[in-house]
Amino acid sequence: MRVAGHDLATEPLACKQAIGVVPQEIALYNDLSAWANLLFWGRLYGVPAAAMRERAGGLLRLFGLADRGHDLVGTYSGGMKRRINIAAALLHRPQVLLMDEPTVGIDPQSRNLIFEVVEQLHGEGLTIIYTTHYMEEAERLCDRIGIIDRGRIIAEGDLAGLKAASQLRETVAVAYAGDPEQVLRQAAAFWPEVHQDGAYTHFLTTGGQSDLARIIQQSGEHGMDIRSVEVRGVDLETIFLSLTGKQLRD
């Protein structure tokens, strides 16, 4: 395996030097300030002393912590700690950034800021490997997505490719008044692919808005009383669930 041109077996330290790691845990020293934490991790990666202050100051500003930089990390909120946790991985300007669930348990503002920073770094050419359980984060941030189940990659590609490969289709989910079994029989009379899931009758569609209009029109013509309508597209979450199943994981 090679990392940024270095062989992992023969040049492990060079490989490590090329990588920035944002661990899932807040891997910082609570009894040191954010500034002191950044300097420590920077020195460990051999950041030149002359560049250290400029980089640390820049990262504190980037993550909105310039005015709290000299406070102890232990006094920070979860979101602030997460931001410094990421900053500590960037001081040495890595070529590859590994981010392990960097937005777990934080406020929406911090989360949004992290998204913006990740997008900015990506725009600057940094390779980022981002692991998350939040599918919308992967959809927003990632060019290539790998779905891992039980330790193995079971699907990989861009979002469009994953959608196509999944063969999943958009559905219109309609809640009708009345007996669900009778409703399903009535719906099957005017739509070829339909199934019942609880209170919702699901119409598998291919035509987007025009299919929606036809379903509403046909329902009226068959005297079916519509309570609510919902269009359910194919997103990463549905692909993920279809690939991994709904069985709980340990």
Binding site: A14, K16, I19, V21, P23, I26, A27, L28, L44
Partner: protein, 417 residues
């Protein structure tokens, strides 16, 4: 209420650390103190005491005294040249030496004071005092057992009766009566507490430390400093496990530094803090209690460095073998208390029976405390093999523990992250 109590009892029984502190540590300490004070050996009998004896008289009578001493259950005579024996006392390898001076036989025959001298180390005063309990009755009865009592009595009576006035003569007669009763008890094998038959032993201290330094002060400073140092380095070692639990160790392991450097960094910081702690304690003893160190700065520095190295290695070793902070806390409390107990930090070694003094060498505390005594009490030169040996023991213990810590760190802690 009952449910709450049952729940608490269940949690208590599941908490190994609490069980250790509640039961194992007190039991270990009771056992330790029982041994230390001789309670388990029955009436403090801890085996015969090896007494170095230098017989400078070299007569049949002095030989007979040596044989009598050797026949006592409480003593085993170790014949030694005076110079060799005194060197051993000065270096802390022996408590004292009994010197039978030339003229001993003549004194026995004429009933004079026996020229017997106990040359000792004041740091071992308690052992020496206990030795006297065996020694003096034997010396007191020696003239009787060799058939010289009558001659001795005659000379003693002559001296007592050689008085100028009636009052003194009456007093001498009273002393004579008392002396006779003493002799009678001696013959019947029941020597009295009156040691008037030339049985006094001249006591001479061989070790003369700097004015202001006394055994108690050195023992207090060295014993306490080393025990507290062990507790603090155990805490420092725990920081490695904190790093593991809080995720910073994982982050350190992905940084471009060899994994073993993480442990070496811990060792270095533990050493610096250990040295600072020992220096602070010595400085406090100097300022508060007048401990004299001025002429021993180099020797003391070497002892401080070697002790700090050995103790900090103990802390790092604990961290490397333990799986959690809680485990370190339990283990360190147990090990430190036991080591401090047998090593002389909690109970001075001279209070302990001989076999406890022998197992004391298994403890870091022993070597450190003896190092302090070598410098501040015995004032051994820096090149003395005994002093260098103690330093080597401390460095050896530290290196062994550090080596094992590196091995356990590589095998366990790093892979377990």
């Amino acid at each position: 209420m009952l449910q709450l109590a049952l729940k608490d009892l269940r949690l208590f029984l599941r908490d190994r650390r609490t069980l250790l502190i509640t039961f194992a540590i007190p039991l270990a300490l009771i056992t330790l103190f029982a041994f230390a004070f001789g309670g388990l050996a029955g009436d403090g009998d801890s085996g015969p005491y090896a007494l170095p004896v230098s017989d400078l008289d070299g007569t049949a009578l002095s030989g007979a005294l040596v044989a009598q001493l050797d026949s006592l259950d409480a003593l085993v005579v170790v014949p030694m040249a005076q110079e060799q024996a005194e060197e051993a006392v000065r270096k802390g390898n022996r408590d004292c030496v009994l010197v039978i001076h030339p003229g001993f036989a003549d004194s026995v025959e004429v009933g004079g004071e026996l020229p017997v001298e106990l040359r000792y180390d004041e740091a071992q005063s308690i052992q020496v005092a206990m030795l006297q309990q065996s020694l003096i009755p034997t010396l007191a009865m020696f003239p009787f057992s060799t058939g010289h009592a009558q001659t001795a009595m005659g000379h003693r009576i002559d001296r007592m009766m050689d008085q100028d006035n009636e009052r003194d003569r009456q007093a001498a007669k009273a002393q004579f009566d008392s002396l006779y009763r003493t002799m009678e008890r001696g013959i019947t094998g029941q020597p009295s507490g009156n040691m008037a038959l030339g049985a006094e032993v001249k006591m001479t201290s061989l070790v003369k430390p700097a004015p202001g330094n006394n055994v108690g002060l050195i023992q207090a400073v060295a014993g306490t400093a080393i025990m507290m140092l062990l507790f603090s380095v155990a805490g420092l070692g725990m920081s490695l496990l904190d790093e593991k639990q809080e995720g910073t160790l994982k982050r350190l392991l992905v940084a471009p530094v060899p994994p073993v450097h993480i442990l070496l960094g811990k060792m270095l910081s533990a050493n610096v803090i250990a040295i600072a702690q020992l220096v602070a304690m010595v400085v406090f003893a100097v300022l508060a209690f007048g401990l004299q160190v001025r002429s021993h700065v180099v020797g003391l520095s070497l002892v401080v460095l070697a002790t700090a190295y050995a103790c900090s290695a103990f802390g790092v070793f604990l961290a490397a073998i333990a799986k959690s902070r809680q485990q370190v806390q339990g283990l360190s409390t147990l090990i430190i208390l036991v080591m401090s107990g047998i090593g002389g930090s909690m109970i001075p070694l001279f209070f302990m029976p001989a076999f406890m003094q022998k197992i004391a060498v298994l403890s870091v505390n022993y070597w450190g405390i003896q190092g302090f005594f070598d410098v501040l009490w015995r004032e051994l030169p820096l090149t003395d093999p005994v002093f260098l040996g103690r330093l080597a023991a401390l460095v050896g213990i530290g290196t062994l523990l550090n080596g094992m810590a590196v091995m356990f760190f590589r095998r366990g802690l790093v892979k377990g992250v």
